[in-house]
């Protein structure tokens, strides 16, 4: 049985619908991420799980049990907010111990032992007597994490916990959070707008858009087999092509984009429909190769962005812009790109 289930969750505020038909299951011990642009409803979803918002329609189940009407303090959740929300008038130790006023520490530990253990877990041993304002942002974030974990919650909720930190620190902390989550095997819901972070950290993720869930899957599934145009363009970079089906060729489909014919074969057979139908397919920038021998088309490079291990090119193809990546240097007109039919994905 799933540890946490949302089904048909709708949340309407006075003048807007924040969530509509949000449905997914999270397994016990899973690291599950809600990712999407700002305003997509990911934070509202997290707050609904926490019991800080009550859904207008739909149900939230913890371990199979409907938690409608159960206030936050009676749900076994731990939350870490973007701004950490440490209690400014309490020391680090008092902050971490606060939740143990309302719940016994697990495994028969004393409060002191539990707090010490958690401070060790987040590498803050010896910092217990500090005041929150004496800590760096990264340290404050770890205190918030220790505080949320201290009462051994069933579900850990993380609302953009890294976005106030600089990029390098974010990557270090990301690994640390993931390691702690795996050690404790605590069911975790993580909210971020950063798709790269979502891919890096999650067991599975839900891509959200306009208050709904576009796709749920593992990072690889979502990246390689985007279900919708939104997912295709939001997760990673992508080239989207509008095409007309010309005919079928074995497992592959022949399509025409502005008169240029391509063969695409995403292994999904008749999803591409019959001749005359329109479809959209996408090809990742790294799958467009210079001088390929199939699905060739000629482009003119417009801008190049040197990224270190690779270079990203924006190129004109007719009145379209395509983006491709390669370690080699290119420039000028008359560059021939192509792609493997198996690398195209029909949406």
């Amino acid at each position: 049985m799933a540890d946490l289930e949302l089904s048909g969750v709708r949340k309407a505020f006075a003048d807007t619908v924040a969530l509509d038909g949000v449905t997914f299951d999270i397994e016990e011990g899973e690291f599950f991420t809600l990712v999407g642009p700002s305003g997509c409803g990911k934070t509202t979803t997290l707050r609904t799980i926490a019991g800080l918002e009550s859904p207008t329609e739909g149900t939230v189940r913890f371990g199979g049990e409907d938690v409608a009407g159960v206030p936050t303090e009676d749900r076994d959740v731990g939350i870490v907010f973007q701004n950490y929300a440490l209690f400014p008038h309490m020391s680090v130790r008092e902050n971490v111990a606060y939740g143990l006023n309302f719940a016994e520490p697990p495994d028969g530990q004393s409060v002191d032992e539990r707090v010490t253990e958690l401070l060790e877990l987040v590498d803050l041993s010896g910092m217990g007597e500090r005041e929150p304002d004496q800590l760096s942002g990264g340290q404050q974030q770890r205190v918030a994490l220790a505080r949320a974990l201290a009462p051994a919650p069933d579900v850990l909720l993380l609302d953009e916990p890294m976005s106030a930190l600089d990029a390098r620190l974010r990557e270090t902390l990301r690994r640390q959070v993931k390691r702690i989550q795996q050690d404790l095997a605590v069911t975790t819901v993580y909210v971020t707008h950063d798709q790269e972070e979502a891919l890096a950290i999650s067991d599975r993720l839900a891509v959200m858009h306009d208050g709904g869930v576009e796709q749920v899957g593992t990072p690889r599934e979502v990246y390689e087999e985007p279900a919708t145009e939104f997912v295709a363009s939001f997760v990673g970079e992508n080239n989207l092509f509008d095409a007309e089906v010309v005919g079928r060729d074995g497992g592959a489909t022949a399509v025409a984009v502005d008169g240029t014919e391509f063969r695409i074969d995403d292994g999904l057979g008749d999803r591409s429909g019959g001749a005359g139908d329109r479809l959209t397919f996408c090809v990742r920038p790294e799958d467009l190769t210079v001088g390929a021998d199939t699905n060739r088309f000629e482009v003119a490079v417009d801008t190049a962005e040197f990224l270190g291990e690779t270079t990203r090119y924006y190129a004109e193809w007719g009145d379209r812009t395509v983006v491709f990546r390669t370690p080699d240097a290119h420039g000028g007109d008359g560059l021939t790109l192509g792609f493997d039919p198996a690398d195209a994905r029909v949406l």
Binding site: A50, L52, P71, T72, E73, D74, R75, V77, G78, I79, F81, Q82, N83, A85, L86, F87, P88, H89, Y98, G99, N101, F102, A103, A144, R147, A148, A150, P151, L157
Partner: protein, 580 residues
């Protein structure tokens, strides 16, 4: 666990009921009595008294005359009879104009110049909120009165001078002393919010400095000036102690006349006048609150650079220096005169006046005011006020930051004392409780002291609320949500997290409440009449005409207590809630 949960659930409603009951008892019931007495004569409800007042030229001047004979509007043009209400509005209007004239240059200097002590002076502009009005009165008497410092100084250089008090001008100046700092404060805050880049854009488009000021800065200052002006008008319209002490009956405003009728035991007329005044001031306060709520504090991306006040003379600096001289004369001289008068006598420097405060205690007749009793009464009433006003104010602050149906109503009801003058509350408490009230077959009476504490608490708790509420709502919502997600109930979060975080604001509110109680004059003077529960402000008013020395000595004592409260408020508080 279950039991404590139930207790927690019930604690908020129980507190709400207790608070509302106290409010009803201390405020709404007494004010209700005044309203009822206005329309009841000998046990019969009638509008006769109201009509009588409306038709009496003594109260409504040319309007009343016009009811009998409209031609008077033409005949007596432009020399209209103002009547009591007309005169009250007239002096309030003059006071507002004077306060604007005195306050706006102050706003300019505060907003656009840099000088040592600027921040201190800026925070001192909030002083009028806690400064007892009677202190302004005694300061002005000590400066402009018959034996005032200014009058004596003028005489000593051979100029013929006599008392300036008892004139409309001195009342207007006293009101301006009181309210100009508020106008300067509110306007300066708004001025500092005007982005330098807006003016620079106007200049780059071809506007001269003066033109840019007129087109860009002034329109953005207008709402602040209007807010301050409205506030000044309300304060001046309801002014009591200043007019009573500096003008007397010959320059009576409605409040003073109500007090006069009460002291003549004519409660019917007093109630009718008080009710009319209350309706007017409620309407004005409502307009003020509506208008203020529309203002939005902005902070400039880049505030304009300040000009150093010290430096070679330029037109701007000369203006600022000139204003500084005026400000010293108007704001500093009365305070210095107060201090000076308290330590001088015919023989020069003396502590006679302070000794009098102590020695008088033994020698006074029973009907005379004993100074030390006034001091101890003030302190006892102050402490009593805190016991009621602080819990009530904090609770109402909590209520005002919650979302629930009926919150607006409670908000409005709890801020109502702002708009009702102390004279009205005093009259209601006197009629309702000190004279006794019948309920359940018993007659309840309350001593003057208890009634005074009730009146002070009513005047003080809104200031506690206005200090604590912004602090509470300033707490990051996610801190509260974190605590709840860790298992704390709503009541527990309040006790563990929110209240500890607003302790400074509560202390500021406490200091505010104490200062309000110590300085309260309007209702105290009514409730203390004939009894022994007089306070320092009442004693000062009694001494003012007869014994300037002791009056100023007591004024200094009051000034010290008020200043200490002010320092606490300034260090810890969110301000009065009135802009700035």
């Amino acid at each position: 666990m279950r039991v404590t949960r139930v207790a927690e659930r019930l604690s908020a409603p129980a507190l709400a009921v207790a608070t509302l009951a106290l409010l009803a008892l201390m405020f709404f019931y007494p004010v209700g009595i005044v309203l009822v007495e206005a329309v009841r004569v000998d046990g019969v409800y009638t509008l006769a008294t109201v009509v009588e007042v409306l038709r009496d030229p003594f109260f409504f001047g040319v309007f009343a005359q016009a009811l009998d004979d409209p031609s008077v509007i033409v005949d007596s043009f432009p020399d209209y009879r103002l009547g009591l209400f007309g005169f009250t509005a007239y002096q309030a209007l003059l006071s507002t104009i004077a306060a604007i004239l005195l306050g706006l240059p102050g706003a300019y200097v505060l907003a656009r110049f840099e000088f040592p002590g600027r921040k201190t002076i800026r925070s001192l502009t909030a002083l009028p909120f806690v400064m007892p009005t009677i202190l302004v009165a005694i300061g002005f008497v000590a400066t402009f009165g018959e034996s005032g410092v200014l009058v004596r100084a003028l005489r000593s250089v051979g100029l013929p001078a006599s008392s300036f008090t008892g004139t409309l001008g001195i009342i207007v100046l006293a009101h301006a002393f009181y309210d100009a700092p508020l106008i300067a404060r509110i306007t300066a805050a708004s001025w500092e919010g005007v982005d330098a880049e807006m003016t620079e854009t106007a200049r780059s488009l071809g506007a001269s400095p003066l033109r840019a000021f007129r087109d860009v800065v002034i329109p953005q200052l207008l709402p602040a000036i209007l807010t301050g002006a409205l506030l000044t008008f309300i304060f001046s319209f309801m002014s009591f102690a200043i007019v009573l002490a500096l003008g007397g009956l010959s320059l009576a405003t409605v409040e003073v006349w109500v007090y006069h009728r009460i002291s003549q035991l004519d409660y019917g007329t007093a109630s009718t006048l008080a009710t009319m005044e209350m309706l007017f001031s409620l309407a004005l306060t409502y307009a003020y609150l509506r208008y203020e709520a529309r203002q939005r504090a902005t902070s400039a991306a880049r505030p304009p650079d300040r000009v150093d006040l010290l430096g070679p003379a330029t037109k701007r600096r000369l203006f600022a220096w000139g204003y500084a001289v005026v400000a010293v004369v108007v704001f500093v001289v009365p305070i210095v005169s107060l201090l000076l008068s308290s330590v001088t006598g015919p023989e020069g420097f003396t502590l006679r006046n302070y000794r009098f405060l102590v020695e008088r205690q033994a020698s006074a007749y029973a009907f005379q005011i004993k100074p030390l009793t006034a001091v101890t009464n003030s302190l006892i009433f102050g402490a009593g006020t805190l016991l009621i006003a602080v819990p009530m104010g904090v609770f109402l602050a909590v209520v005002s930051t919650r979302q629930f149906r009926g919150r607006k109503l409670i908000d409005t009801l709890s801020m109502a004392p702002f708009a009702v003058s102390g004279v009205v509350v005093g009259l209601g408490l006197l009629r309702g409780f000190v004279f006794g009230t019948e309920a359940f077959g018993y007659r309840f009476t309350v001593t003057g002291a208890v009634a005074i504490v009730a009146a002070h608490a009513v005047g003080a708790y809104p200031f506690v609320t206005r200090n604590v509420a912004p602090a509470l709502s300033g707490i990051d919502g996610s801190i509260v949500e974190s605590a709840r997600s860790l298992g704390a109930s709503r009541a527990r979060v309040m006790l563990d997290i929110e209240l500890p975080l607003v302790v400074p604001a509560v202390l500021a509110g406490t200091a505010f409440a104490f200062a309000i109680s110590i300085g309260e004059f309007d209702s105290t003077v009514i409730l203390a009449t004939g009894g022994s529960s007089y306070t320092m402000p009442v004693a000062i008013e009694r001494f003012i005409g007869r014994r300037l020395g002791p009056a100023t000595a007591m004024g200094v004592v009051l000034l010290v207590v008020t200043s200490v409260s002010f320092v606490i408020i300034d260090r810890l508080g969110e301000g009065s809630g009135f802009g700035g």
